[in-house]
């Protein structure tokens, strides 16, 4: 079995250059690649385009990369809860491309699956449709949307093996599996790394073919945005 293991986050992101396109898994702060974000912060790179459903919060997640001015453009579906993001956007330092969440997910999925474009009903009759080809199927209008691919995709899984097979937990799965497939190089950080053969093949969510580098992450904070409990 091909061994995809790298030592740590620093080694995994060492060759990520300025001005490249990154995908980062996560929904809110759940399932984000915390270790790789920390390692990217140590690098002297700028001009990144980041595809991620959200943009983190001011002092955690992608918000940290924004604060250090490493990001040129965000491609996201929802970017609230981040004052620094808002400041940079309003001052013109940051570009943002807002995409309906299902369209974003399908564009990423299509990128990984070799489908250059598809029709979706989301956004018909709205400003999202401006400049896009539309077509009627069975009496309903749809918009043509194209695939999204990245130079690197960075994902976070619960368990992984040295062959790059991944298992996710709870709703930390979200965009991670589809992004794994849509990056030329996929870096996976996992909470528990085991030898190939130790994970049950029946339970694998992301087959190792999509993953080029994998490492055991450390010190996961897993910050909660909206701690809500039953009364």
């Amino acid at each position: 079995m091909i061994n995809k293991t790298v030592k740590n986050a620093r080694e995994a992101v060492a060759d990520i250059p300025s001005n490249c396109m990154l995908m980062m898994g996560g929904f809110g702060l759940t399932g984000i690649p915390e270790n790789c974000i920390s390692a990217l912060l140590e690098k002297d790179i700028t001009g990144l385009t980041i595809v991620s459903n959200n943009a983190g919060v001011d002092d955690f997640g992608i918000g940290l990369l924004l604060k250090k001015r490493m990001v040129k453009k965000m491609i996201s579906s929802y970017v609230g809860e981040n004052a620094e993001f808002e400041r940079q956007l309003l001052s013109g330092e940051l570009e943002v491309d807002l995409i309906p969440q299902g369209t974003l997910a399908e564009r990423v999925r299509a990128g990984g699956a070799g489908i250059p474009a598809f029709f979706t009903p989301a956004g018909v009759g709205t400003e999202v449709a401006e400049g896009k080809e539309s077509r009627e199927f069975d009496g309903k209008m749809y918009l043509l949307e194209s695939w999204l691919k990245a130079d690197f995709s960075i994902v976070k899984a619960w368990k992984g093996d040295t062959a790059g097979n991944l298992i996710f937990k709870g709703t930390a799965r979200n965009f991670n599996p589809i992004m794994a497939a849509a990056g030329k190089i996929c870096i996976a950080e996992v909470e528990e790394l085991v030898e190939a053969g130790e994970l049950d093949p029946n339970q694998i969510h992301t087959p190792g073919i999509y993953v080029q580098r994998i490492f055991q992450g450390v010190n996961y904070e897993k910050r909660i945005e909206q701690r809500t409990v039953s009364k």
Binding site: Y78, P100, A105, A122, G125, R173, K222, T228, V229, S230
Partner: protein, 218 residues
């Protein structure tokens, strides 16, 4: 006039046994509290969970388990987990029976605006455009008027549109209304103590009143 909880309680009466339901953020989330125990329904969270359970107790909190509003949740018996593309596949594919969401404006032909106010910070549409473009049955939960007293039920939406001709029913603090296929808000029920005349005054779009309009029953 209804409280937010009463709006949620009235919407819960629309829920039918066996439905898969997506609840938006705000008042729609409250609907879950009023679904009768004798109905078996499954709540979908677009970040990848079918079968949202109650909020966790302190010792059940799992940061890897949140709803689309980023609140910590639990999983109901028989739930399942999936990725974001699969999640929106089930939404666009018409497998979710009922979508309940909030709105800033609804027009008399069923257009909805709920994602952007020009001049204010744009946070994004999240999954709202996918949901409204896909669901066959969309119920809007909202206040009848804005804070400044302007009607939110309009001939045409003034704010950027989220989806066109998609809303079927609206439950506000004043009334239950349905969108007529020919255009217009059909008044179905009044909130307790609210008169038809008051609803007429607060509705800028075409209001259709046929016969006696009953008070809501909870």
């Amino acid at each position: 006039m209804l409280t937010k909880d009463q709006i949620a309680q009235r919407i819960a009466k629309e829920v039918k046994n066996g439905q898969y339901i997506n609840l938006g953020i705000g008042i729609p989330t409250l609907v879950a509290n009023y679904i009768p125990d004798n109905l078996e329904v499954v709540l979908q969270s677009e970040n990848g969970l079918l079968g949202i359970g109650p909020f966790p107790t302190e010792d059940q909190i799992d940061p890897d388990l949140i709803n689309a509003g980023k609140q910590t949740v639990t999983m109901a018996k028989g739930s399942s987990l999936f990725n974001s593309a699969e999640s929106f596949g089930m939404i666009r594919g018409g497998h979710v029976h009922l979508t309940i969401l909030g709105a800033m404006e609804v027009s008399e032909n069923g257009d909805i605006s709920n994602w952007k106010i020009p001049g204010k910070m744009v946070k994004g549409m999240g999954g709202a455009m996918d949901l409204v473009a896909s669901a066959d049955n969309i119920i809007v939960a909202m206040q009848h008027c804005s804070r400044s007293g302007e009607s939110k039920l309009l001939p045409e939406c003034s704010l950027p549109i989220t989806g066109i001709r998609c809303v079927k029913k609206i439950v506000t603090d004043l009334a239950v209304l349905e969108i007529s296929p020919a255009g217009g808000f059909i008044l179905k029920e009044r909130a307790p103590g609210v008169t038809v005349e008051e609803i007429k005054q607060m509705t800028a779009g075409k209001l259709i009143i046929e016969g006696e309009i009953p008070e809501m029953i909870f």
